[in-house]
């Protein structure tokens, strides 16, 4: 057997063994981390039914509806087919493959890669977040899954939504150290390179750094609040004075409603405190109150209704609203000593820190968060 063939075969096995080793380590942490893991699951998506009409002189239509609940076995039939049929293409009036390819090349040219040969174009079902189940074109300069440059183009609007240099992480490159001022400058240069209008997005952060990448983020701003659902995030390296892009994400949300903020901070606070009293007898303290832009979710609905189960998926409407975000915690927390899922749920209701999204117009609680955000 040739050396290359052998080493590839062996590497495949070694990679799997290392993956299994990591899996085993993570599984060992589960009993201690169970609360945090459950928190992570809930922070993804959920919602509450509190049919509140704003206590003023105007009645607003409720925004919250009873969410749809799917059990795991129902999920697969609920999810649309990954293939996009010809009928669907025609119905949805999608852009053609050739148009998508040219748009991707325009992006690559702007980023300094010229107009390379495109080796792969696929029309795929949506990839994440609010664009789930919608379609996009994936345009690549190489065929392998972790090879080449990749650009995603929205198949309806033709907008550029994502770029990745799939091979950058495998190159042993040493980052240049750059100053805070240089990072800010680069952030603005990237923004100009991408061709956005002046002041369309505002620079929110430019000082992010990991051991591999620098990062910056731009968002649109409404009522003094950054909308994280309409933004640009960039991860990049600087090597020998040159900026190399790792990933660029552009979030074009169609679901932000920019609803009128009719509720005062004090009114929102009161609504959150009343809800917390339904879940916990412990004395509450308000930790934070702020205006925010949040997606409707069903965290507290699930908590209230004891639907804490990894085999259940709870789906709310896809709506992004102006809310008052109120965080409530308790001084006299108990240490969790339970074992069963029911005991964990009860503990969470009574002790966990919760954040409520109180709709800025209707006063309904349209979502929330529990405890600390843990990314999966």
């Amino acid at each position: 057997m040739g050396d290359r063939l052998l080493s590839d075969k062996i590497w495949d096995k070694v990679e799997m063994k290392i993956a299994i080793s990591h899996f085993q380590e993570r599984e060992k942490q589960i009993p201690k981390m169970k609360i945090m893991q459950m928190v992570a699951t809930f922070v993804v998506c959920i919602g509450v039914t509190v049919g509140v009409v704003y206590a003023g002189y105007t009645v607003y239509e409720k925004v919250w509806k009873e969410p749809k609940i799917y059990h795991e076995e129902e999920m697969q039939s609920h999810l649309p087919s990954p293939e996009i049929s010809e009928e669907e293409k025609a119905e949805e009036n999608l852009i053609t493959e050739e148009v998508a390819k040219q748009k991707a090349l325009d992006v690559l040219e702007k980023l300094g890669y010229g107009r390379p040969e495109i080796k792969k174009i696929d029309l795929n079902r949506g990839y994440s977040g609010e664009k789930e189940n919608e379609s996009y074109y994936m345009v690549k300069t190489r065929e392998g899954y972790e090879e080449g440059l990749m650009v995603l183009i929205d198949s309806k609007t033709g907008e550029f939504t994502y770029f990745s240099d799939m091979e950058l992480k495998y190159k042993n490159l040493t980052l240049d150290e750059i100053s805070e001022e240089q990072r800010k400058q680069i952030a603005y240069e990237v923004y100009d390179t991408l061709g956005f209008q002046e002041k369309e997005y505002e620079l929110e952060t430019y000082n992010q750094k990991t051991d591999r990448l620098y990062g910056c983020q731009f968002y649109k701003k409404y009522h003094g609040v950054y909308n994280k659902f309409q933004g640009i995030t960039v991860g990049y390296m600087v090597v020998d004075g040159k900026v190399l892009y790792d990933t660029i994400n552009i979030y074009h949300s169609n679901h932000y409603e920019d609803n009128e903020i009719k509720l005062s901070k004090e009114e929102a606070q009161q609504i959150a405190i009343e809800k917390e009293k339904e879940l916990s007898d412990k004395e509450s303290k308000i930790e934070k109150v702020e205006l925010s832009i949040e997606r409707m979710n069903s965290v507290i609905y699930q908590l209230e209704n004891n639907m804490i189960d990894n085999d259940i998926y709870v789906e709310t409407d896809n709506r992004i609203r102006n809310v008052w975000k109120i965080t409530i915690d308790h001084e006299d927390k108990e240490i969790f000593r339970g074992i069963t899922q029911e005991e964990q749920v009860q503990w969470m209701k009574e002790n966990s820190k919760k954040t409520y999204f109180v709709d800025g117009t209707t006063g309904e609680i349209i979502g929330g968060e529990i405890g600390l955000r843990v990314t999966s």
């Binding site: 062996i10 096995k13 799997m16 899996f23 990839y127 977040g129």
Partner: protein, 184 residues
């Protein structure tokens, strides 16, 4: 075929570059193992042992003396793993001395239990679809986030989560069959 590099040449940002080691040393280790077993093991067993050798090296990277030559460790580990394989397969053969090897201090029984658990997990994974294997490797080997996996495999985040959940359940079932309590 590289055979005499020091370990420190494969240290990158404090971590052992195991992929590079596999690329450079697979041929060498294959020769060592094949010569040692002299037809007593199948090709499949030999390849499995080779993969285990690199895995043991990776698992014990913090114990390695980086100024020592890599091949010495590889030969030492191979000796122990071949011995253990013979024991499992009930093969009685005397191993020839390997010139210049260092003794691997790792507790052999720990390797065995680890390998046994791995066996059940690998068994569970082998019967899975290719996409599930990809998701498993990306999540647990490459530590990719659900969002990244979803984007790069062109599926929804919910599908990634559903599949990961199923993979975990399947592994736990296989581990329970193997007598590991609570699937661990």
């Amino acid at each position: 075929m590289k055979t005499n590099h020091l370990i420190k040449m494969y240290i990158e940002k404090g971590q052992l570059d195991i992929k590079k080691i596999v690329e450079d040393y697979s041929g060498y280790v294959y020769t060592v193992v094949k010569n040692s077993v002299k037809g007593n093991l199948t090709q499949e067993d030999i390849e499995e042992i080779i993969a285990d050798i690199f895995f043991v090296l990776w698992s014990n990277q913090e114990k390695l003396e980086i100024d020592k030559p890599l091949n010495a460790y590889l030969v030492g580990i191979s000796r122990n793993l071949i011995k253990e394989k013979y024991r499992k397969n009930k093969i009685t053969v005397s191993l020839e001395e390997q010139e210049g090897y260092l003794t691997d201090n790792r507790d052999i029984s720990m390797i065995c239990e680890q390998n046994e658990k791995m066996y059940f997990i690998e068994k569970a994974l082998k019967s899975m679809k290719k996409i599930d294997m990809q998701i498993f490797k990306r999540y647990y080997y490459a530590s990719q986030k659900v969002k990244e996996i979803a984007k790069e495999l062109n599926i929804s985040e919910m599908q990634v989560k559903t599949r990961l959940h199923r993979i975990r359940n399947k592994i736990k079932k296989e581990m329970k069959k193997g007598g590991y309590e609570n699937g661990r």
